[in-house]
């Protein structure tokens, strides 16, 4: 059974880690998941979990995953926005867990946004 005592050990590990990482720097990516009713109903909780797990697993310390409300394009949910300093925001649509992992691998880790999953592509196609 997990106990609160074990958390103390985690705390000590985390303290070292947080100190090493310091404050977020300018190269940081920010990944934002729309978590309003529309997003949640479309599966955004799983999308967020997949993104968080992937960022953790790949040790992407320069990436922040966060939640936001309704982005205003409900029929394209789950919607994920990727912010990178000095670049235009990329809005991804219908992002399930699988797409989320692909976005991390291609866009975040290799600098290649996946055009087919973007809002602008989806709007052009429909």
């Amino acid at each position: 059974m997990k106990t609160l005592e074990e958390l103390q050990a985690i705390r000590e590990r985390m303290k070292a880690k947080v100190n090493n990482r310091g404050v977020a720097d300018a190269s940081d990516f920010r990944i934002v998941v729309g978590m309003a009713t529309c997003g949640i109903a479309a599966g955004a909780r799983n999308t967020l979990a997949a993104l968080t797990a992937e960022v953790e697993e790949k040790h992407l310390d320069n990436v922040i995953v966060s939640q936001t409300g309704c982005i205003g394009i409900c029929r394209f949910e789950p919607v994920v926005e990727v912010f990178e300093p000095g670049k235009e925001k990329v809005t991804y649509v219908h992002v399930d867990a699988e797409r989320a992992r692909q976005i991390v691998a291609s866009h975040i880790m290799n600098g290649n946004p996946i055009n087919e999953y973007t809002y602008s592509y989806a709007v052009k196609e429909n």
């Binding site: 609160l4 978590m35 909780r45 409300g69």
Partner: protein, 184 residues
């Protein structure tokens, strides 16, 4: 919504947006009474009587990005389709409590789903907010509270993946234990 846990996530997000510093989620299943009661209570900004009166109307929302607010109406529908009901009490400056009841064994009752994922999503999204989860099945109860965890972590945000992962495992284990093999 395919899970009651997703409704809970959605309703508790309203509390976060209402600037609540404490959000109490309660899930109580009673098989003898054939009743499932879910409530989300917050100490957020609360609602005026006028807003409270029309909040179950899908065309009422405080948002500006769109003209519909479906969170509460959907939760209400999920409750009513099992013979249950949704009630909201709210007071400006005090907070809001949303309570939904369900007939536990009703064929149209949506399964609970992943309550643990809902809790970690909530805590990750609002790491400064105190969350309490009261989970009870036929008198067996478990209570999770972020306050002691926060105290132990000494300033390390609860949204840190490793901390959140541990919280998730702890909640999941306890829920499973309370369930005792039953799937709510």
């Amino acid at each position: 919504m395919t899970e009651l846990a997703l409704h809970i996530l959605d309703i508790a997000n309203n509390s976060t947006r209402a600037n609540a510093t404490e959000i109490k989620i309660s899930v109580v299943a009673d098989s003898r009474e054939d009743l499932l009661t879910i409530s989300v209570a917050d100490n957020g900004c609360g609602m005026s009587e006028e807003l409270l009166a029309r909040v179950t109307d899908p065309f009422a929302t405080t948002r500006t990005t769109r003209k519909v607010g479906l969170g509460i109406p959907l939760f209400k529908q999920a409750a009513e389709s099992t013979g249950g009901a949704l009630t909201i009490t709210s007071k400006v400056g005090v907070g809001t409590t949303t309570t939904a009841t369900f007939t536990l064994s009703h064929i149209d009752r949506v399964p609970m789903g992943d309550l643990t994922a809902t809790m970690t999503t909530l805590i990750g999204g609002a790491p400064e907010t105190d969350f309490v989860l009261h989970y009870e099945v036929d008198g067996r109860a478990y209570e999770f509270d972020t306050s002691p965890v926060r105290e132990i972590m000494e300033g390390i945000p609860l949204s840190e993946p490793e901390v959140l992962g541990y919280i998730g495992e702890m909640i999941a284990e306890n829920i499973e234990n309370i369930n005792g093999g039953i799937i709510i």
